[in-house]
């Protein structure tokens, strides 16, 4: 089966049939961090992917430095708006 990845965009071929949960395990991916899409549809961990399938493994994690949760406190630059109404 053809597997499409993002971040970075790449494509790999893996022989099927294979259950989604086994595929994720083989690729060392955390199920909570990705969704598996076949065509336009989401598939669940117990679904079996066929050899002729084309699936996208889409990461669901996003986000930058976030709101004031950095490893380096920023004396003088904490930013009142950041402390008072942290939003980002």
């Amino acid at each position: 089966m053809k597997i499409l990845f993002n971040h970075p965009v790449r494509e790999v071929n893996i022989p099927g049939p294979k259950r989604v949960q086994d595929l994720l395990k083989e690729l060392d991916l955390i199920p909570e961090s990705v969704l598996v899409i076949r065509g336009d549809d989401l598939v669940t961990e117990d679904d079996t992917l066929r050899d002729e399938d084309c699936v996208e493994i889409r990461p669901v994690i996003s986000g930058g430095a976030g709101e004031k949760a950095s490893s380096r406190p920023e004396p003088g630059w904490a930013g009142e708006m950041g402390i008072i109404h942290a939003l980002s």
Binding site: E32, D40, T44, V60, G66, E80, I83, L87
Partner: protein, 305 residues
């Protein structure tokens, strides 16, 4: 796997709730969780004008989509950070979303108004890009809301965002920030819009699944500046724990909120604390704890280097 509600084919298992949903029941679930967040945290009602900060990503577009479908008076704000192709693509996603739905879209162009894109500004003032970005976004989110008479500013922060942020703050004992980690922050003083996070009951995976089954065309690419960001490491770590022990993220963040509420009885309210320390910035009049706000200090520094 079958949907636990209607027995149709499931599209998503949700181990933390020991359930699985089909496309239609997943949409119902997301609606219910957002409505519950709005009501339980007394975020807003249908008489409020709600400004949703949107990035073109799954979270903010899902939030805007659901609030619009639920009949709330919503408009959108997009801050164009000027990050090359990424910003062009994300702005286009936002426009393609709002136009056909007749949702008012406000756009703040950083390149035009601040005189440079976010990467150039950060280099000028020698601050990390994400820190500069956060200051600029927070400033314009609030300022746009206040100037256009929106009573509420809503952002798409989800359970994963809040749990990861809490983990970061606890790991570094940044206790000053913990008090402000609630999903609803009051409009304590004139010049502040009320800030709310209606997605705090939903995980990123549940929101992404909603966006996919409802065919929301969101930007999948990650901001190029977020590579290697600590938040991503915290999220991945929490997801590993969640995988082994479903419910970990909600127990961590919701448990924190419950303790925060219990302890709030013995402390001055957030609004009272804010009123004691906030005054208008001498340059822009936005509320600040010092004479000149962080945004104005940052821009002054950018103009002198």
């Amino acid at each position: 796997m079958r949907c636990r509600k209607c027995s149709h084919k499931a599209v998503l298992a949700i181990p933390r709730h020991n359930t699985a949903f089909c496309q239609s029941c997943l949409t119902d679930f997301v609606f219910r969780q957002i409505e519950r967040a709005i009501h339980e945290e007394k975020m807003f009602t249908k008489t409020d004008r709600v400004l949703v900060a949107v990035s073109g990503g799954k979270d903010s577009l899902t939030l805007l989509d659901v609030l619009h479908r639920l009949g709330y008076a919503t408009a959108a704000l997009y801050v164009n950070l000027g990050i090359g192709e990424y910003s062009r693509a994300s702005k286009s996603k936002v426009e393609q979303f709002t136009e056909p739905r007749g949702i008012t879209l406000h756009v703040h162009e950083v390149q035009e108004n601040e005189g440079a894109g976010i990467n150039e500004l950060s280099a000028l003032i020698r601050r990390p890009t994400c820190s500069t970005c956060g200051t600029i976004k927070r400033y314009h989110f609030n300022r746009t809301a206040v100037e256009h008479d929106y009573t509420i500013l809503a952002t798409g922060h989800n359970l994963d965002d809040e749990a990861a942020r809490l983990l970061g703050n606890v790991l570094h004992w940044q206790t000053d920030y913990l008090e402000k980690q609630g999903p609803s922050l009051p409009d304590s003083v004139e010049g502040f819009a009320k800030k709310v996070k209606p997605l705090y009951r939903l995980s990123e995976r549940e929101i992404a699944a909603y966006a996919i089954v409802n065919r929301l065309d969101y930007i999948v690419e990650e901001c190029p500046n977020s590579k290697g960001a600590k938040m991503l490491l915290y999220k991945e770590t929490l997801n590993r724990l969640e995988n082994e022990s479903p419910g970990t993220k909600q127990m961590f963040y919701w448990g924190f909120l419950a303790k925060q509420k219990l302890e709030s009885a013995n402390r001055p309210s957030m609004a009272e604390s804010d009123q004691a320390i906030l005054r208008p910035c001498s340059k822009c009049s936005q509320p600040t704890t010092s004479g000149i706000c962080g945004y104005c200090r940052m821009m002054a520094r950018a103009q002198t280097v």
